[in-house]
Amino acid sequence: MNHLLNNPAHRAWLVLLVATAMTWYLGEVGAAGTWAIVTMLLIAFIKGRLVILDFMELREAPLMWRLLLEGWLILVSSLILLAYWISLK
């Protein structure tokens, strides 16, 4: 079991499944409003980062490419957060 979790891909897959279940659960209980939006964006951000670093294997890639993809994640999350913040006003 332990040696299985030494593989970053296995670890990432497990975390991604748990994170997906969390987002699904928030939908089931009808979570809405500021805390729900921030939580879901945070979960999506963590998931996206795992895909970029452990699936796309950009952890060891030239820094520019790692920053470009992680930057995309920050950009998209920020724009969505901004739009939802406006909608709550």
């Binding site: 939908g27 979960i43 890639a61 993809l69 739009a83």
Partner: protein, 200 residues
């Protein structure tokens, strides 16, 4: 992975070169695709800000279980493709082909779930012109759907070549390029699912 003999032409001496998996060209393509989706995601979010009540109302008609199941299928498909790349790096040729095929089947599962979801919506008389929410729901998910299909075409090509032993520790570049594209399809859905199906 042992040699520092990369084709990037870096002259940084003995320090191990930080290597980008796959071809440089595929990463520019991936970046362009991601920028297009960033525009779509932001358009959805800002359009929603104009009429959150309408978006919240019709979001409830979406099949969240189907969306979550599809997330699991893409994540698992992505995981299999990583295992294929890892198998190539240790020259386990049968495992390369097997994992690509499993990844491909996960993509197929995604398409089946999505087709049922679309059939239910279209059967209920919903179309792009029903309202702004459905216009975004259909166009965003369909644009992503097309990317799943392209990803599966790429996986099919990789599978045929992997079966002939094309991908080894000495030559994994093509496999890594296709894998990177497949992970992008997963990455986009990871944003799309909470945004369109859950966030309110």
């Amino acid at each position: 992975m042992s040699e520092t003999q990369t084709i990037t032409g870096t002259t940084t001496g003995p320090a191990p070169a930080r290597k980008l998996p796959g071809d440089l060209a595929i990463w520019f393509f991936i970046l362009a695709e991601m920028l297009a989706f960033a525009v779509f995601f932001a358009s959805y979010a800002f359009a929603r800000a104009h009429d959150p009540a309408l978006f919240n109302l019709y979001q409830q008609t979406l099949d969240r279980n189907a969306g979550a199941l599809n997330t699991v299928l893409l994540i698992t498909g992505s995981w299999f493709v990583v295992l294929a790349v890892q198998a190539a790096h240790r020259d386990d040729i049968p495992a390369v082909a097997r994992n690509i095929l499993l990844g491909f089947l996960c993509g197929g599962g995604f398409l089946v779930v999505k087709v049922f979801e679309y059939a239910a919506k279209f059967g209920a008389g919903i179309s792009m012109s029903t309202n702004t929410f459905y216009m975004f729901y259909i166009s965003l998910t369909f644009f992503h759907f097309m990317h799943v299909i392209l990803g599966m075409v790429i996986l099919a090509v990789l599978w045929f070549q992997a079966r002939q032993g094309a991908y080894t520790s000495q030559n994994a570049n093509g496999l890594e390029s296709g894998a990177a594209y497949w992970h992008m399809v997963d990455l986009l859905w990871i944003i799309l699912f909470p945004l369109v199906y859950v966030m309110r």
